[in-house]
C-alpha cells in the first residue's frame, strides 16, 4: 500500500502556510518514521494523513497496486495522552474504542482484560486516568489505540513518556505487528528509533527535506556528522 500526497497546502486558521504544494509518496510496508525539528510540521502531516485535519488544497490518497483504497481503519496516538483519554476509569477507557466499533460484549471483555495485562495496567483498572503518571497515561492511550487492531497505526512520539522497559516492550510489539503486515507511521526525534525504521521522511520548516529508505538516510546522517 502507498500514500500519494499531491499539491498539498495547509495553514492553521488564517496563519501562514505550513505546507505549500507538497508532493510525496510514502510506501506503507513496515515502519515509516517522520522526523525533523520541532515546529517542522510532523504532527500536522500525520494528522492530515489520518484525516484529523483537512488540507486547504491538494489530495491525500491511498492505493494498493495502483487501485484506490478508501476503507482504511486508522489508529492514532496523540502526542499528549491527555488528548486521547476520555473515560473515568481504565476499563471503560479501553472498552470505549470497542463499543464504538460494535464489538460483541463477551469479546470486548476478553480484549479489555488482555490489554490491561499486556500494558501492565491491571492493578489500576478501577482508578481514574487522572491519577496515572505520564508514562502510565501513555501506556493507557497506546492500549486504547491498539485494542481495536487498526490496519494503519499512526503514533506521535509514542515513547516520550515511557520508561526504558516500556519502550523496549513497544519496540518488540511494533516488530511483531510489522510481521503481521500492519503498517506503522511513527513520529520521532530519537536517533535510535530512526534506526528501527524501514522508510524515513524528514521535514524542515514545512518542506520535505528527505524521503527514502532508512539505511540511506542514516548513511547521509552519519556522513553529515562525520564532516
Amino acid at each position: 500500500m502507498r500514500i500519494r500526497i499531491s499539491g498539498l497546502d495547509f495553514q492553521y486558521r488564517k496563519g501562514p502556510f505550513l505546507f505549500k504544494n507538497i508532493n510525496l509518496e510514502i510506501p506503507l510496508d513496515g515502519l515509516v518514521v517522520v522526523t525533523g525539528n520541532s515546529g517542522s510540521g510532523k504532527t500536522t502531516l500525520i494528522k492530515l494523513i489520518a484525516g484529523l485535519l483537512t488540507p486547504v488544497a491538494g489530495q491525500i490518497k491511498f492505493d494498493f497496486n495502483g487501485k484506490p483504497v478508501d476503507d482504511i481503519q486508522f489508529g492514532y496516538l496523540f502526542q499528549n495522552p491527555d488528548d486521547q483519554i476520555v473515560h473515568f476509569n481504565l476499563e471503560r477507557e479501553l472498552a470505549f474504542n470497542l463499543e464504538n466499533r460494535g464489538i460483541p460484549v463477551a469479546e470486548m471483555h476478553r480484549r479489555v482484560e488482555d490489554y490491561l495485562y499486556r500494558y501492565d495496567l491491571a492493578d489500576r483498572r478501577n482508578d481514574s486516568p487522572n491519577r496515572l503518571s505520564g508514562g502510565e497515561k501513555q501506556r493507557l492511550a497506546l492500549a486504547g489505540m491498539m485494542i481495536s487492531c487498526p490496519g494503519i497505526m499512526i503514533l506521535d512520539e509514542p515513547c516520550s513518556f515511557l520508561d526504558s522497559p516500556a519502550q523496549v516492550r513497544l519496540y518488540k510489539q511494533i516488530a511483531a505487528l510489522r510481521k503481521e503486515g500492519v503498517s506503522v507511521i511513527w513520529v520521532s526525534k530519537e536517533d535510535h528509533e530512526i534506526r528501527l525504521a524501514d522508510y524515513v521522511i524528514e521535514l524542515d520548516s514545512g518542506e520535505v527535506s528527505w524521503s527514502g529508505q532508512s539505511d540511506e538516510y542514516l548513511k547521509r546522517f552519519e556522513n553529515s556528522h562525520a564532516a
Binding site: 525539528n37 520541532s38 502526542q79 503518571s133 505520564g134 508514562g135 520508561d163 526504558s164 523496549v168
Partner: protein, 243 residues
C-alpha cells in the same frame, strides 16, 4: 551565588485518597542540595507526586516534608515546570500567559525581557508567537516556552519534570547550555524516566520504585547496586539495541 538548601523528611506518606492503589512512603531523608540532582524511576513510581510535594503543590497525607535555606532567614522559593507543558498556559494567547506570569511577580518589564532572552536561547521569537494560541505550537515549541517561563522566574530551587520530552537534538543541546550557567546560582532537580539524561547532567541521584526511595547517592555508588540498576531497567534500551 548558589543557594544552600536543605530538605528534611520524616514519615512522609502520600495517597490521592484512601482507596488509591498508589502510595508514596519515605520514612526519613536529610539532604543538602549541591549541584543538579536527578530524580529517576519507572512510570508510576511517584516521581511527579514527590516533586509536587517538594514544591507544595500537593500536601502530605501524613508526616512532614520541609525545605529550608541554610542561612535560616527565609524559605527557599521553589519553581516547578510541569511534565505536560500546556498546563502553564493562562490565557488565550501566549502573550497573555507571559503578561499574567510577569504581573504576578510585580516586576513585569524586567521579567518579560528575561523571558524573551530565554526564548531566544531556545530559538523562539516572542514577537512571532505572542499573538498565537499555545495550542497552535508544536509539542517541542510548547516545551521550550514552558522551560523559558520557569527559568525566567529564577527560583532558588527549580524542579524540571521530564524537561526533554518533545525536544529534539537541538532543543536538548540548548537546554543543557542554559542549565550550565543556571546551575551556578540555582539548585535544580531534573525529574526523568530517561536515565541516560540524568547520568549526563546530574551529580546526585534519587531513585523511586513503587513509591519508595530505593537509592540516594552518586553514580559511583549506584554502580555497586546492580539489583537496583536491573529493578528500574536502567540498561534495558542498551541491551535491546545491542542484540
Amino acid at each position: 551565588m548558589l543557594p544552600e538548601i536543605s530538605l528534611t523528611i520524616r514519615n512522609l506518606e502520600f495517597r490521592f485518597d484512601k482507596a488509591d492503589s498508589f502510595r508514596l512512603w519515605i520514612d526519613q531523608l536529610d539532604h543538602s542540595f549541591c549541584g543538579i540532582l536527578g530524580l529517576h524511576g519507572l512510570s508510576g513510581s511517584g516521581k511527579t507526586s514527590f516533586s509536587k510535594l517538594l514544591c507544595g503543590l500537593l500536601k502530605p497525607s501524613a508526616g512532614t516534608i520541609a525545605l529550608s535555606m541554610n542561612s535560616g532567614a527565609t524559605l527557599p522559593r521553589v519553581g516547578y515546570a510541569p511534565q505536560f507543558p500546556e498546563r502553564i498556559l493562562l490565557g488565550v494567547q501566549i502573550g497573555d500567559t507571559v503578561r499574567q506570569i510577569a504581573s504576578l511577580k510585580r516586576r513585569e518589564p524586567d521579567l518579560i525581557t528575561l523571558i524573551q532572552k530565554y526564548l531566544q536561547c531556545f530559538s523562539l521569537d516572542f514577537e512571532r508567537i505572542k499573538n498565537r494560541s499555545g495550542y497552535e505550537l508544536s509539542g517541542g515549541e510548547l516545551r521550550r516556552l514552558a522551560l523559558a517561563l520557569s527559568l525566567s522566574l529564577a527560583p532558588d530551587l527549580l524542579i524540571l519534570d521530564e524537561p526533554t520530552v518533545g525536544l529534539g537534538r537541538r532543543g536538548k543541546a540548548q537546554l543543557f547550555s542554559i542549565l550550565e550557567n543556571f546551575q551556578n546560582d540555582h539548585q535544580i532537580i531534573i525529574v526523568s524516566h530517561d536515565f541516560k539524561l540524568i547520568r549526563q547532567i546530574c551529580r546526585h541521584y534519587w531513585i523511586l520504585h513503587e513509591g519508595n526511595l530505593i537509592f540516594n547517592g552518586d553514580d559511583e555508588t549506584l554502580r555497586s547496586f546492580p539489583d537496583i540498576i536491573e529493578q528500574v531497567g536502567i540498561n534495558s534500551l542498551e541491551k535491546y539495541f545491542s542484540q
